[in-house]
Symmetry: D2
Subunit: 367 residues, 4 copies
């Protein structure tokens, strides 16, 4: 099974790339939230393809329809279901994915799991298109978080060998998030962005693709959100992030760099108690989470996105019906680099999982 | 909440470092499994402290008692509960952790989450000691997996700047796992191990600590295990791994290195169909998982363990009662490097989460 | 939260009576099931209103649209989402349900739970219309069960003081289920049915309503389905049945009559072992379930449906805005007796919950 | 699987009647609750056997040990694990339950489900002894509820043909609950109690057993607790109640009597708004729950307990090994009527499930 995530708020996602529709159901939203549809449209557009050279030319208008859970512009508290119809499918381009699987894609593993009954067209349920419902749900989650002063942002940290500047893990601001989100190519330093585009363009010219790293941050979270052991905030966020196709690694704070540090470097010394009684640290190598629970410092995390599996360069594959080796040239439209469009998806995944943890924290009674 | 993990088999973990006992409940085990207690004892001993210079001198004999779910040496299929009594606590050493929190540890975040009612002694429920029940549960999961020809292994990939050899992501074997598990210091190349020990010893001499990376692998998994989106195998495994204290990053296959690769490099070309009708790839950059589902190649993953937060070097902290800055010297016994003892913990986490996914796959009916 | 039920197969239900659409998502269906749409239409029609005097004159064509999870007429194994658009709403009739609540209905409790943000029109998410998605999901579950030789049936056991014949708890057959399902008024003995209709008609003439009891049975279940304690089959089935509006009691086997029996009467003596190695009992006072697990005899259960809360007789209520007592005359169209239309709903609830337990049983590995 | 129940607070139960220990884990308790151990002991004693003629002579001192989750007399908020060791087992009396199953008991269905690997001694995991952990957990839940002014009570409504007085569904009080709980034989009218004891004694003399009905009520619940559809409060409470061995029916309010009522009788007219802004009804036929959500009136429900399956009268059974018919005389100690001891168990089940729903309600954010 695959469709349901969450404890205090739940998200179900359904659909196949070339089926009738994709969509989702969000359950557990608080009643009375005035939903800002423009804000949803803004996030959906950030993810939408077809906007420039480095994304697929498939046109998805991604116009959605809310089926339930909204009344007079506000959430009712009952399940909010929504759908996005599929329109611009070109199934022929994907006609034989159930016979000759694309390397790096889920064609073969889906065949193995579903015994050949999966809708293989365009990757079916495994298509990156299924991240649209996640962005939709995340857009609502962000509105609720923002009302609490909690903001989520992300940028492209690297494409191939080109690095962007990093977020300051102490001083990163909501304004910075907003400025990046407004950009067509979401980086901190536009010069780095230009170099990244060159990397992507070079890959595209070679009928190849490029990967990258997205750095994300959350500010405004109170201390105390999360839980020990299996409900560690890192566990929740990571389980949601690895649901996003192409994500192959997730790390918090200084992540894999912590391996080479000593405790005296990695430990974030406490500096003072702020006016809200919250302890402030001098550094933030732990990314705002200790023991699975927020300490109130910015949450900082990194996600690696592998290069798009669909490339039109000839590749070696095997015919699943007769076992014969064959050369495969993937047709259809696809992004030479999915990373720019993945930025709002990563933000959405973080926002939804954080809101779930936030509600657990908020509901916790104490004497 | 924190105690319960799993879908087809569930694991609950309870206990505090200096409370009466720690333990767990495993539900959903198949009836009739002949449990090999020696194999459990072997895994428990790999994790146990006090065995050498680089681990805490606290003596835990970690002798366990099974309370239920076993009858005549076999699982009954009903919940298997077990406990490990706490014996060698020295609570005084930790007396004021609810007043002056240790940097890098969960003392402050636990205080924020539980409003000061947590058992703070020795880190309480957040102590690394809580990984003992996980190793116990994982040891049973491994036995079941091994009966299916599935083997889990891991080694220290790096400590500080020193690297061990890597697993061959195609040819890694169960014998190799077994050879490493028998070692007191679990590395592939003992020379690297000796250098790592020097790094650890140097940290210890400086009253400091060291971190590292653990590389793990699983062989023998059929293709088809896992699920798309929220039940992606990476999601399950990662959510379990981030439950382990000190884990700050998890990646699959080539992980963060995929950011600098092109699709034509990262895609694992299909080479042939083997005798079981399974496709074999030429490379394994994706770590045996595509679209959240195994392709039958070895699962390969990496986990970063931050340097032990408890160091006896003086550190700056803040008194949570009065907000005053204070110097903290952490007393008590602690490992200068937790990585060697974390190896069997990581293996256990992987084994348990994989078995859960395996049962979902096995139970899947098809026409 | 309210929308999600199940362990091995999950059902989400969404929608409001006068909103855009109602529908559901079924996750965990096995891949490859050839869905019989005529069989779904048949069940949907049994529940549909407007077919005769004793049901509401609201016309619902209940035509549905499958959005995902089906490919070339078969289930894919991924989430199957479907919707039913709302068409014939007359919201004005329900205009002030958020001000003056109908006695016996959820208007007031919904207001209390959702703080006034619920979609109150026509009962909103609490409307009996929400049972349509359940019938849809149940219709698919029944097809899968029938392929295994498991059949679910039900009839009206009583309306007011009039009783129908009872199922023979040992010899009840699938043919009998089929014969009843074909009837416009689902009873065993049509004479009783005629008397029941008179009771209903008399209630209708008095602008009042009638309640009743539905007896249901399942045949063909193997022994071993269910689980002890919290996953007792009675727990699963009852939790699903109490989700159906107007259900106020559920009992298995001889139910409340067991209170007056002695153990020697209530115990079902074992008579023989059949050719499949299954024990057969002489009687079936326990309704085919012992210790939460099926024994292979027919599952027999009873469900009480309270009289329709919506009656057009004047009733006393209180204005929720100013606390003043007021006389309420419920407008709108409603059934004088919901019991006949509830029969396929009860069957659907049983089918879905039984299939969930069946998959748990089927997936159970043993040595 | 069987061991885990709950959404906001979770209860795991483990153990077998003749194994090492039984016990449970409660997760999600709020931190800081001062646990009243005397109150727990009082509830445990109400359930304990061996106190009089109508209960089994097996001596269980049921002394428990708390393993975790408590610190300085208060809950920490982390999982609270507890165990009760088994002491007075006489396994020989049950020696062949895996060969010749007792009619009315789970011996055969356990064999079918667990393929013969269950611990069959004394009913194993299916034993009524497993209700002790439920009473323990319920005793803590009641303390928390009582701090909120919510009280749970129950009495024996009938044994065989003898009825006790009923609770007044409007005016029932906490004092009444308390008075009944203090009684050795928990009825409202002691005269009825004496007649019931005669029924039980007569059954015992005949080496037979008697069943009965327990009526329970909850007062002080605010309006708004519960949820529509699958999380209906009736669904939660019923799923927990059917987990109790011997429960075969659960009904709310007037239950099965509603079948013979008209809507105008069954609907509870609203009478006034009280000082807390809560609507008060004139009658309470719906047992305080409408649409799955409390309306603030007393919750009233009935539970039928079948006659004890273990009787020493000779019964016909079948040998599961060779299929031969055989006469069975159940040895061992058992209650001629379990109903009196079941009263605190039913109360505990209601308290725990209600607290879970209460926390969901309390945590619900609204604008």
């Amino acid at each position: 099974m695959s469709s349901c995530w969450g404890s205090q708020i739940k998200l179900s996602i359904f659909g196949e790339s070339h089926g009738t529709a994709i969509g989702g159901v969000i359950d557990g939203l608080p009643p009375g939230v005035a939903v800002d549809f423009d804000a949803i449209a803004f996030q959906m557009k950030r993810r939408a393809p077809g906007q420039n050279r480095w994304s697929t030319q498939r046109h998805e208008d991604d116009s959605w329809e809310v089926l339930s859970g909204l009344f007079e512009g506000r959430t009712t508290g009952t399940p909010l279901a929504f759908l996005i119809r599929n329109k611009d499918q070109k199934s022929k381009a994907y006609a034989n994915l159930n016979i000759v699987p694309r390397p790096g894609h889920a064609d073969y593993t889906a065949q193995a799991h579903y015994h050949g009954f999966q809708d293989y067209r365009g990757g079916g349920h495994f298509s990156g298109r299924l991240t649209a419902p996640l962005v939709f749900a995340g857009a609502i989650a962000r509105q609720i978080l923002e009302n609490k002063g909690i903001h989520v942002g992300a940028h492209i940290r690297s494409i191939g060998p080109v690095d962007d500047e990093r977020f300051d893990p102490i001083k990163v601001t909501a304004d910075q998030f907003e400025a990046i989100a407004q950009k067509n190519f979401p980086v901190i330093t536009d010069e780095s962005g230009e170099q990244m585009k060159e990397i992507i363009e070079a890959a595209r010219m070679d009928r190849d693709s490029a990967g990258g790293i997205i750095e994300a941050a959350v500010i405004g979270t109170p201390s105390g959100v999360g839980a020990p052991i299996f409900d560690a905030l890192e566990s929740s966020i990571a389980s949601m992030l690895f649901a996003v196709p192409a994500v192959k690694g997730v790390s918090f704070g200084d992540g894999f760099d912590l391996a080479a540090m000593r405790g005296s470097q990695a430990n974030d010394a406490y500096d003072k108690m702020d006016d809200d009684g919250r302890l402030v640290t001098l550094s933030n190598h732990n990314g705002g989470i200790l023991g699975g629970i927020t300490n109130g410092m910015p949450i900082v995390l990194n996600v690696v996105i592998k290069p798009t599996a669909s490339i039109s360069k000839p590749q070696q594959s095997v015919n699943m019906q007769n076992g014969e080796k064959t050369e495969l040239i993937v047709k259809g439209r696809h992004d030479p680099c999915i990373v720019p469009r993945a930025v709002p998806v990563i933000e959405a995944a973080i926002a939804f999982s954080l809101l779930d943890a936030y509600y657990l924290y908020q509901g916790l009674e104490h004497v």
